[in-house]
Subunit: 712 residues, 2 copies
């Protein structure tokens, strides 16, 4: 809607503050004083019905009386005056409106209705809207220097962009950042996000030269498609870090299959972030710690960390943290160790970590890091320093390492375990690397750099050639999906589902559908070997629960088993539509594969370990479609059960290429048939390479059950 | 050895500092000045060969010339002078020696030899030794006030005891603590722990009235039995919090079974801590945060948290953190909500979290927490405050909540998202609750309080009556274990293992051991129904890997299967000792159960989900023997797969009482036969209640393989 970017919010030529106050302790006073102090050189228009001037600037009694053209209006007026003020802005030709005022959708239905009217009003005038219930925006670009927030903390200009869905936490981030020398390019407080959302902010930063790192505090993502597109594009150029909260508030949506029960928003959010290369931080502290590293470090070319310390304990904490986060500690080369030995005391450890012991001087630190950085296995350097009771002070060490050129070549971060008074002095050291108090956050930041570096080189091309193998049956079957008799909850008959799956080249066991016990036995004879026998129960997803499945039957046992199945299924109150007689697939690993539509996330592919372990251990991964072979393989590698699939646990592993191919085909199927609400292949038996996979059971559900069936 | 407690270290009547220096920037100078400034009123004797007095106190040129009786000597001398100084201390009748000097076992073999000689020397004189390579001790008990450390940070006296295996991190903890108003009763820096270790420190705190909370930084536990005994006893009275590092340095010890491969020290450490009720913190920050809460809060009577805030964002972070840590947010009662509504603005949320919105005053905070605390579902209160741009300041809010009596009745902690300058002022507010910057550490502290509260009420009685069911066969079989022919790696023949297990009332399937295919078929006939057939391969733990197992055989298929097994096993280079024909146990859940001896941890029981998932997902729990039924059930509940066992995942669940009984019997078996190095029951098929469990395969290994077999 309206303008496609946030230029008029972040690069306005003139700003009007409606509700600018003469009293600095009010919101309207603080916002106006922040604006005045920001160094903004464009037109500034306070609107105040009572004061002829506000904080020394000529004021206007109403919006309509403001003379000049106005790009951006900031509304700090009572809630009930917001609509008329917005309309007045529209009449004046304002392009962007920030609504600071609260009392809208966050307070209930009445407020939500008012918010809808507000959006309508803005739309009518082609105005883009930030908020309501937000903190405003600032841009520290020296060519702009505009601040329309009531942020009480002085901000350090820098390369970090921040978008926050909570004003309070936005302030907290700015406050924390000031203490760790984290500088901001721009801050966009989206509040209720009635119009401008996270994706708009990301889009602005794509082309903003001042912003090199993007940070986000997000409580909910409403426009997933826009977020995914923009974040993916932006993250290829600039690191995007996000804290996503409201993790536990996500309700598990009602669904007829356990696939649905697994598909909580959090797993979908993880998938979205992984696919968009957004780095998810566990907390605001962690996000700020990462941003500090991205702000000043080049990207590493690998996972190798060298640790340089003057005490053993912190190095052990750092080694543990590296191990937790997948970073490695290469043993330093013989040459490097020899060189270190030449000047370090004999008690020093030189393999990595390099423990120079308590007597280490500032110069020892600088010299050691420069030698260590020449080792080809070292991609990052972590400096640990404990203020020793004697010898050089921590500030000397920090100054010494700040003078080195190592930080130009590879990431260099530090942890100083020092007295409280040390930390405020860090910002006085020119060129200082990021300083963390404890080793763990320093390692966490290095791991984020390494992960981003890997993400940037990750490429996922679309599946190639799969759709050409689809035959005409698929097209034919599109009609079946739309017209065939389906069960009360939209379930397709097993035969139809099997035909569709088969038409897409998804491998099934040899199988026949029969109507009675005698023909079941005959089918078993044709199939040969052992068979599985299943009751066809169109209305039931888990037929095993009612005694509808018997496996490993010999031909001669089939008739009797079919009669028994009929009995127990009927006793459970179901009437079978016949039987499925299926070649017995022995061995292999059971997986579950599904594709389902989600109102918010779109079409989601899921893969995980099958059987009852799925539910208890929930070892599943999601991806938002589309995803290519590389992305699918990344999903598989993210499963805790990957060693089982790979064969590095006991067992032979599974046919990974066949499994990846199967997942590709399922996605093509889902893309071809938008009326298919859900396809669940469970279990998929994956055999060792090159034996492929077999889909042993299928649930296929349409979004449009036949009405008659629903009434029945 | 020597004295059984640390009285002479922590309550000395007189202290001698050998190497006391006139120069305050040296270790010997700093230690002596800390001692002088500590307010210690007992005898103080500096020993310095060159100075007639040190820092104003008369000095003695050598240890032997010190006049008075000396309880505690602190050695700050060159490494090579430590032995002779210790001997001189011994001659003088010193009871306790702190060796600050480094250069011992931490530097390699030569230093380790010197350390052994040092311990010998101390032993000869009945001296207890702290260090070497340590920071000393302090005790802030006003009746003692002694400090022999070179800690550069002023310490706040309080109720927290600290033992640290790293001097540097000990200092870091004291430094961090000073900033958060955490007060210490005593600090024991154990360095290389040549004599005094963590367990000694814990034992001291058992009877020290000044210490109410115990904190530990541990890199390794050498005397597990002493630690377990003391920590369990202490933790019943006082919370014990530990950071255990060197997690990733633990090598996985070589072992012939995958049980062994799982038994890394970290899992054993977790078991040790769980069984001793030691609270394991993830980091030093977390430990200090927890200690601050234990220092000032009563224990909660449940898991219910009420959150009171003036902004939504931080409350969402807190709710997420509560959910992560098993704390609940009870919906407040109708009465409480009505009462809150009577004075809070209409936009406020009153269900829980109570969001009083930005206009909340300090008095609103106090009033709200007092009302909310009366709700019977509320066991803990979390205050969240964001410094608002207008309205009451955070310090006013802190002062208001500090005046309330709620903190006397239940835990009260807070998170203040404020400007940097706020935090140093916290200590000026009398009676202030623990203040954390972010919500997550505040919630983490509440969860630690709740966990400790639950731990204290946990009781585990020994298994009752199990051993009486043991029959004489067990005694008879003790001889078999010690004398029978065992395989090259100590494996007992399957028949022997089965008899032993059976004698302990551990349930096996109906089974027979036979020599050839024909008798296998005959045995199958006697057993009836389907059978499993297994080659007996005494030297091989995993016979399925060489095609030695076939399941679900009908009687008529057994002979042919036995011939096939013989073929494939022989092809793999093994010669079977015969066959096991076993009743087929259908359904149920596969578990793995083992008992094994560990050099460091003693006898460890393990239980986990079986099959190849064990290895990939490592869903196992350990306990150190002995453990009773309640402890065993707690192990089972800690498995990720607990929902499978309990039957809350799809499936019927398993016979938990039978499983607990089985685990008890395995432990009795292990206790009876110390020569059994390892008993692995894998798989144990656990059927739904009341069908019990069946041990389908057994590996039993003695610690004394027959020598001839090893040579073969």
């Amino acid at each position: 809607m309206n303008d496609t970017d946030l230029t008029f919010f972040l690069r306005p030529r003139s700003v009007m503050v409606v509700g600018a106050s003469t009293r600095p302790e009010t919101l309207g006073g603080k916002i106006f004083s922040n604006l005045l102090q920001s160094g903004f050189t464009g037109g500034i228009y306070p609107v105040n019905p009572k004061a002829p001037e506000v904080q020394g600037i000529q004021a206007y009694p109403s919006v309509s009386e403001v003379p000049g053209p106005v790009d951006l209006a900031v509304l700090v007026v009572p809630r009930d005056a917001v609509l008329s003020a917005t309309a007045a802005c529209g009449e004046l030709g304002v392009r962007a409106v920030v609504v600071i005022s609260a009392g809208f959708s966050e307070t209930g239905e009445e407020g939500a209705e008012l918010e809808r009217l507000l959006v309508e009003t803005a739309d009518r005038y082609g105005i883009r809207l930030l908020g309501p219930n937000c903190m405003g925006v600032f841009n520290t670009d020296p060519g702009i220097s505009v601040d329309t927030t009531f942020n009480p903390v002085p901000v350090i200009p820098g390369g970090v962009g921040l978008v926050s869905q909570s004003g309070a936490l936005g302030c907290a981030i700015l406050g924390l950042a000031a203490g760790i020398d984290l500088g901001f390019s721009s801050f966009i407080s989206i509040g209720n996000a009635a119009d401008v959302g996270v994706a708009d902010a990301l889009r602005f930063w794509e082309t903003d030269p001042c912003t090199r790192v993007v940070t986000c505090y997000i409580e909910s993502i409403t426009d997933v498609a826009a977020f995914a597109d923009t974040a993916s594009r932006l993250a290829r150029e600039k690191p995007v870090i996000a804290v996503k909260s409201a993790r536990s508030d996500d309700g598990i949506r009602a669904a007829s299959s356990h696939t649905g029960a697994l598909a909580t928003d959090e797993r979908a959010i993880d998938a979205l972030f992984r696919q968009s290369s957004v780095l998810r931080a566990a907390s605001i502290q962690e996000m700020c710690g990462w941003a500090a590293a991205f702000q000043s470090c080049p990207l590493p070319e690998g996972n190798g960390v060298a640790i340089i310390t003057n005490a053993g304990g912190p190095a052990i904490l750092a080694v543990d943290a590296c191990s937790d986060r997948g970073l490695t500690l290469p043993v330093l080369s013989h040459e490097v160790q020899e060189e270190l030995r030449s000047y370090l005391p004999p008690e020093a450890a030189v393999a990595n970590p390099v423990d120079m012991i308590a007597s280490a001087t500032a110069d020892d630190y600088r010299r050691t890091m420069e030698i260590v950085a020449r080792d080809p296995g070292v991609h990052m350097v972590l400096i640990l320093n404990v203020t020793p009771p004697i010898g050089s002070g921590s500030l000397d060490v920090l100054a010494a390492i700040s003078r080195s050129t190592v930080a130009d070549e590879m990431p260099l971060v530090s942890s100083f375990l020092a007295v409280d008074s040390f930390y405020p002095q860090v910002t006085t050291v020119e060129g200082a690397p990021p300083v963390y108090r404890f080793p763990e956050p320093a390692v966490s930041a290095l791991a984020a750099l390494a992960r981003y570096s890997r993400n940037r080189s990750f490429r996922d091309e679309p599946f190639d050639g799969l759709d050409t193998r689809r035959d005409d049956a698929a097209t034919e079957l599109a009609r079946i999906v739309e017209s065939d008799t389906v069960g009360a909850d939209g379930l397709l008959p097993h035969g139809t589902a099997s035909e569709i799956v088969s038409a897409y080249g998804i491998p099934l066991p040899v199988q026949e559908i029969v109507t009675d016990p005698d023909s079941a036995a005959a089918a078993a004879g044709r199939i040969g070997g052992m068979v599985a026998l299943k009751a066809l129960l169109p209305d039931l997803m888990h037929k095993a629960d009612v005694g509808g499945v018997v496996t490993r039957l010999h031909e001669r046992e089939v008739r009797e088993a079919a009669i028994a199945i009929e009995g127990s299924v009927t006793a459970a109150g179901h009437s079978p539509d016949g039987f499925l007689v299926q070649e017995m697939v022995e061995g292999g690993v059971e997986l579950i594969v599904s594709v389902r539509r989600d109102r918010v996330f779109g079409t989601m592919l899921m893969v995980g370990l099958g059987g009852y372990f799925t539910e208890a251990l929930q070892d599943v991964q999601f991806s938002r479609l589309p995803v290519g072979p590389a992305g699918v393989e990344r999903m598989l590698r993210s499963l805790r059960g990957w060693p089982i699939l790979e064969g590095s646990a006991r067992g032979e592993g599974v046919d990974i290429p066949a499994l990846v191919d199967l997942l590709g085909r399922v996605m093509v199927l889902a893309e071809d048939h938008p009326l298919l609400e859900e396809v669940e292949l469970n279990p998929v038996i994956c055999l060792p390479e090159p034996k492929g996979c077999r889909v042993v059971d299928i649930v296929m559900r349409t979004s449009s059950p036949i009405e008659g069936d629903i009434d029945a």
